[in-house]
């Protein structure tokens, strides 16, 4: 069934369009004038001004591995983050801690730990799933590179971004 939409009845001056055009021109001119006089607030000029200081605590930037106070890597290469990662950006190559080592009960350490930042979607699943609190989403957001290989963060790069986080680390505890 056809529905007839009632058209608004335009007055004579509205059908002439000229008042509307003049009003529009006045609006654009006012915006131009306000910009020239510096009355308009403009968006932040990114590379010069950054909003890093205003980033909230829960900001999800680039994922990174962290060390504890003693400078030891927290990761135990359990590979939970590798499994949970939705875009499969994480690749871990575990290494074995030898039996006579003091921390042999930990059994594994990450020999290689790669996060492909082209794939990473900054979802924070890895941080959430990590039982050792070894991987965190830090506040770096400008991840750039000229090649695909450059965009893969290896273990050294991840540790460099991650830095040190203080707090209880279960795995070094002899009794647990």
């Amino acid at each position: 069934m056809a529905i007839t939409v009632p058209r608004p009845k335009l007055t004579w001056s509205e059908r002439l369009y000229l008042p509307a055009i003049a009003a529009g021109m006045a609006i654009t001119l006012r915006h131009l004038k306000d910009m020239l006089l510096g009355r308009t607030r403009v968006t932040m000029q990114y590379p010069e001004q950054k909003w890093d200081a205003q980033l909230p605590e829960h900001y999800r930037g680039a994922p990174a591995l962290v060390k504890d106070e003693a400078g030891r890597i927290r990761c135990v290469a359990c590979q939970l983050c590798e499994f949970i990662c939705p875009p499969r950006a994480i690749k871990i190559e575990p290494g074995e801690i030898p039996a006579k080592d003091r921390f042999s009960k930990v059994e594994k350490y990450p020999r290689e730990f790669d996060i492909d930042m082209i794939r990473c979607i900054f979802c924070g699943m890895c941080e959430e799933v990590c039982p050792e609190q070894a991987i965190f989403l830090r506040k770096d957001y400008a991840i750039t590179g000229l090649t695909r290989a450059e965009m893969v963060h290896n273990k050294e790069k991840l540790l460099e971004i991650g830095g040190v986080i203080h707090g209880v680390v279960l795995k070094w505890n002899e009794k647990k």
């Binding site: 529009g24 021109m25 609006i27 915006h31 131009l32 306000d34 403009v42």
Partner: protein, 356 residues
């Protein structure tokens, strides 16, 4: 020196001076101004990276255009594909030849070719601009450029009528097609739309300004349509036709279309200034025969008026939405054509019945 040789040399000097030192830099800075004005109207900052306030942006753009790959698609008609960008640029610049851009400088009249059919030459050459667009659209062998070209040709032909008719009242009044005479008349009797000079207390002068204002409005709008500027930019409507007639073009060939549009804007403004706004004349400033400094001031005044008109072009572009195609045609054929036609009779009546 042989007078013929010196004439040729002086003319060449004027051509080089006006085209390469004034028009082309003005074209490239018109692009910059367009971006800046649009940004300011839309509460943005616009180009501000290259040089102070982004002033070197046109140079960077030109470098980019020159260094880009000049790609010719395999499916195009090569000859016309290469010809079209030149045809888009050349008429726009050629028109400036008959426009008096200043009084005299060291006794040399500041007009490249002071021919007695000035305004006819302008219309004849400006109409050639449509060939650049039509040939580009046809040679591209692709549907969107073709549609853009078809639209452009019908739009330009439609609005050329009102363009031509709108200037008839001026030549009824002056009785001479020479553009320098038009300027001289306006110096003696006041600008066409602002008859303040001469016997300005005479109400007849102000009565005559009424048809001149109508002419000015119709002519200015027709110039908008002729130069494919918003709100008449149907030939290159991005939202409907991708890029319009220059969809298949890249690199410097695209830039030529782009610059051709701005050159057409500048020449269109130059014609408006010459016909309606007193050309290089500014009240109280004598012409170049009183000293070269006044000659320079006259040239500056002329280009300042053009710049003011260019600002209006940009201001309108970022205010008004694009017309629908049928609205465009209706506006051209039903309104402006009739208004221009009636205006001729109005002007003729005023000129005829009122004793000047």
């Amino acid at each position: 020196m042989n007078p013929t040789v010196s004439f040729i040399l002086i003319t060449l000097l004027k051509i080089v001076g006006i085209v390469f030192l004034v028009i082309l830099p003005m074209v490239s800075y018109a692009v910059y101004a367009e971006r800046k004005v649009s940004a300011l109207i839309q509460d943005r900052l616009g180009p501000n990276r290259v040089g102070p306030a982004g002033l070197f942006q046109p140079i960077a753009d030109a470098m980019k255009f020159l260094l880009k790959e000049d790609f010719t698609p395999a499916h195009v008609n090569k000859l016309y594909y290469w010809l079209a960008p030149c045809l888009a640029m050349v008429p726009a610049i050629t028109t400036i030849a008959v426009v008096p851009f200043g009084s005299t400088l060291f006794g040399v009249p500041m007009v490249i070719a002071d021919i007695n059919v000035g305004v006819l030459f302008v219309f004849a050459i400006a109409s050639l601009g449509v060939y650049g667009i039509v040939i580009a659209g046809w040679a591209s062998n692709s549907k969107y450029p073709f549609l853009g070209a078809v639209r452009s040709s019908s739009q330009m032909i439609s609005y050329e009528l009102s363009l031509g008719l709108a200037v008839v009242p001026i030549f009824l009044l002056i009785g001479n097609l020479r553009l320098t005479e038009v300027v001289q008349y306006q110096i003696d009797h006041g600008w066409m739309i602002l008859p303040f000079a001469g016997n300005w207390k005479n109400p007849v002068g102000w009565l005559l300004a009424v048809p001149m204002w109508i002419s000015f409005g119709v002519f200015a709008i027709a110039v908008f349509a002729e130069t494919n500027r918003l709100p008449f930019d149907l030939p290159e409507a991005e939202t409907e036709l991708v890029g319009g007639y220059h969809t298949e073009y890249s690199s410097m060939k695209f830039a030529l279309f782009f610059l051709g549009e701005y050159a057409a804007m500048i020449t269109g403004s130059a014609i408006i200034v010459t016909l309606f706004l007193g050309g290089w004349h500014f009240p109280g400033v004598p012409d170049g025969s009183r000293g070269w400094i006044f000659g320079l001031i006259n040239i500056f005044v002329f280009f300042a008026k053009i710049a003011a008109l260019l600002f209006v072009f940009m201001w309108i572009r970022f205010t008004l939405p694009r017309f629908r195609y049928d609205q465009l045609m209706r506006l051209g054929w039903v309104f402006f054509f009739e208004i221009a036609l009636v205006n001729i009779f109005l002007a003729a009546a005023i000129i005829g019945f009122v004793d000047r």
